[in-house]
Point group: C2
Chain length 93, copies 2
């Protein structure tokens, strides 16, 4: 699970691009069991802007996703350039 | 959903106390539909330490939880004193 604060000046188009590119990953990386994204509802001013929740069978499946070239490309090309802050955690259900 | 980094020197006992106190809230606050906590699996060094995932029927149910005295007490007495960083987001499924 990862949350992001987008940098000042990030456009709606850039945010939609991130969601769209991430949304393609479950079709590319078979280790992804569940994958969903969400935008902040605007209730609390200190909230992060965007969240990604992903589920994997185990640690190895997560690592395959984390290091998959298709995932790295989305991170490097679309996420990192507009991310002002990132908070992430991996935990067992 | 909220993630925390615990301050240096936070004990295992303090972390278990947070999880235990939060775990009592679903029995006290009827607006909580689902509630789970998790500790970081230690895969990535930059990860947050602790995550809380909660589900509510709607915005009003979330607000009732956010502002409930039992929740505020756990936050003020057990979470805030050991939280070095917090990242949170509210979003619609």
């Amino acid at each position: 699970m990862a949350m992001f604060i987008w940098a000042e000046g990030t456009t709606t188009g850039q945010q939609e691009e991130v969601a769209a590119r991430l949304g393609e990953l479950p079709g590319i990386i078979p280790q992804i069991r569940e994958y969903s994204v969400g935008a902040d509802a605007g209730i609390n001013p200190s909230s992060y802007d965007f969240v990604l929740v992903a589920d994997f069978a185990d640690r190895d499946a997560y690592l395959a996703y984390r290091d998959h070239p298709a995932h790295r490309e989305v991170v490097d090309r679309y996420v990192t350039p507009i991310a002002a802050a990132r908070a992430a955690i991996q935990y067992e259900l």
